[in-house]
Symmetry: C2
Subunit: 137 residues, 2 copies
DNA sequence: CTCTTAATTGCAACTTGTTTGCATTTACCA
DNA sequence: TGGTAAATGCAAACAAGTTGCAATTAAGAG
């Protein structure tokens, strides 16, 4: 939340109720949420925020680096808070859609190798697994 | 192409001109293509196939395991042929959108670890890098 | 504390990517 | 060489995400 205030201020942006509420929803979630998910949870909490505002706020939070965008083969984006959470990855069940965190990342060395080989500058990577959870096997 | 015929036949499906043409477009491409990309290339080659047929064919080819679906943070799917190509990953430039192959994958051991820790069965993974290519840096 | 103003929001409409329904066409086996 | 189920094209629907604009509001200036 401190990061939110500082980040917004640094860009001449404002701290609003929707922004606090949306970041709060993401911080409370155990797995990444779509814009529609966030919107639904806000409604459940009696916080009236338009879906469009959710989209716009997610874009802002992403630009501030407070949340990460995740793709899990669903044709939509999900977002998760970065606050107090280590860099990590996910696995998604092809049966029930359950998403679990994988608290690991073996890509430090590989990233250096990729930069050397491709001459790209690497800014980010995504690593996701897909399979079947115990219940769905 | 042999795989296409065999795979289709095994499911009581048919070998058609659109299917051949679409697989051919994917096999010729150096990077993964979206449905719209495939459609545009077919048109350029004077092959009249509806975009809907492209979508349906991509679904079939994917189910047959002849092509792989790729997500590169664009809000759309891309597809690439698997024929004669080793398992690999990609890097995409945030400036110009250029996509390059990364002919490497260090995830064998990690996959085993993930399966042990999560008790999921891992069927697939995605690993993509994002950054800036030499021209855009 | 109030005023001013630019940032933010909500609503409606739109765009883009993808899917579905259905009548017509076509691959392929008897 | 048909007959028949599979595949296609077209129109329409759907879903995720974006844009334009008038109304609202955060927050610094006075």
């Amino acid at each position: 939340m401190t990061n939110l205030i500082a980040g917004l201020r640094a860009e001449g942006r404002r701290l609003t109720r929707p922004r606090k509420a949306i970041l709060d929803v993401l911080e409370k979630s155990k797995y990444p949420l779509s814009a529609a998910d966030v919107h639904a949870r806000l409604k459940r909490e009696q916080v009236a925020v338009d879906l469009v505002t959710v989209y716009r706020t997610l874009a802002v939070l992403k630009k501030l680096g407070l949340i990460a965008q995740v793709e899990l083969g669903e044709g939509q984006f999900r977002y998760e808070s970065r606050h107090g959470r280590e860099h990590h990855h996910h696995i998604r069940c092809r049966g029930c859609g359950r998403i679990a965190d994988l608290m690991l990342c073996p890509l430090k060395k590989l990233t250096a190798l990729v930069e050397r080989e491709t001459r790209f500058t690497v800014e980010e990577h995504s690593l996701e697994f897909f399979g079947w959870c115990p219940k769905c096997q």
